[in-house]
Amino acid sequence: MLCKVDKVIQETPDIRTYRLKFREEGMMEKFTYLPGQFVEFSLLGSGECTFCIASSATRLGYFDCSIKKAGVVTADMHLSLEEGDEVGIRGPFGNWFPLEELKGKNLLFIGGGIGLAPLRSLIQYCIDNRNDYKDFTILYGARTSDGMCYKDEIREWQDNKSLKVVLTIDQPEETWTTNVGVVPKILEEVVMPVIENTKVITCGPPIMIKYTIQSLVKLGFADKDIITTLEMKMQCGLGKCGRCNIGSTYVCKDGPVFTNEQLKSLPDEF
């Protein structure tokens, strides 16, 4: 399936969000996805990459992918993929956040860096179905204030009275007025979440996920209430190429969304 790049948003110096529309009419209606799923994004000539969809299907007509410059394909994208260009899309693949289970719960989103992208899809979905959920907290950390994605949207969230938004950066900066510190620390000291009837959804760099989960468990959250999405190198997205194997689990089919309970049953290799 070919997509046209409708809009490029430079989120941070090395993160760009691409807003995509299908070239063929009517394709968008057939492309149904749920928060947490991912697509294989191919820049012809450079190769294919796996990205999560960063927008919700409740926002019609387009979908977003946020891409950080890291490897070859992503570097080529930042270099040459502009508005009006065409890219190939396969998908959507993988499982999604357990939307039914989240209903009627307090939600706590914990994101770090580019890890906000998969959460954004769910956040948008939940905002659009606000009445289904109770308290709504977003904790978002980045290394620097420059490194925060979706700045405009975060401002919108902050203005939205029904959401609580907590931001933090790792190192102090002159113009920064709120929290400074790594995510697990802020989680324990500032957010102080309610444990009862709360589901936590987290995503970020592997090291952040690891320590965040530790402090969540320390705070008393049950393993089944901690939900995360995993990153593994993938190539096919179809459960064939064997790259994303963790034990007998294929991250591309059985994941990328896992609860901490499921993670514990996997070999420690991610």
Binding site: S46, G47, G71, V72, A75
Partner: protein
Amino acid sequence: MNYTKQIQEIAAKLFAEGKIDVFVGYRMNGFDDNQVPVLITGPQEVSRLVFTDKSVFNLVNYLKTDHTRRKRVGLVVKGCDSRSLNLMLTESQVKRENLYVVGICCEGVVDDAGRKMQNCTECMVPDAVVSDELLGTPSNIGLQPYAVNPDIAVLAEKPLPERAAYFEEVFENCIRCNACRHSCPLCYCAKCCIDQETATLYNGANTTSGAFHALMTWSLHLAGRCVDCRNCEKACPSHLPLHLLHKQNESVIYENFQEHLAGVIPGDRGAFYKYSMQDPDDFIM
């Protein structure tokens, strides 16, 4: 040629004196009379070590793995292996003080079928050129007149299309498993240029043209450095005549670069690493 007993004694002594963390040697493979490399980490395993004319593998290859990096290593080297070790030292890949080298005055090794390996029949440096301890009687054969490899000579006689067809067949049978590269002690790059994702110079796909790219680039990187240990050829699952690529380079370099042979003189750099006024320049207009 059988130095099993001596090598076991040396290894036991080194472990007892605490001079090494790992000893790289050979052991019987457990099902026929051929041998495989083994990494030994303590005196209790020393009795597994052997050394005969079946000790074919070039153990210098193991100096680039996780198991030996930043450790004190004892290892056994034959003449050709010691030349590659020399190059590893010159190219600053290993530290001499971390090594305890048991050199062998090699009488030639044999292949699975018991025939003497071709490179042994034309060997010019049978005695280890780097060693802390030398086993066997040095042959002191000195420098021999250089003989062009007979396979190269036969090929050179053939007309160009026939040669091209021959090599096409070679590349077609390559499965691009990279066993040659991984078995080569001098292919120590952390990431090979052929696998680079950032430079799309090379074809990542597993095709004949990809094999051509990979093997030719590889052989040119080893030009003037290959010591003819034939580890690559022994590793190749398709039994491709990889030595042809290297021996051709070797003979051209021997002819044009003041009879240069890789790794024979300690501290001597590869032919393409140094500049000399006598280097041929007739290819420059």
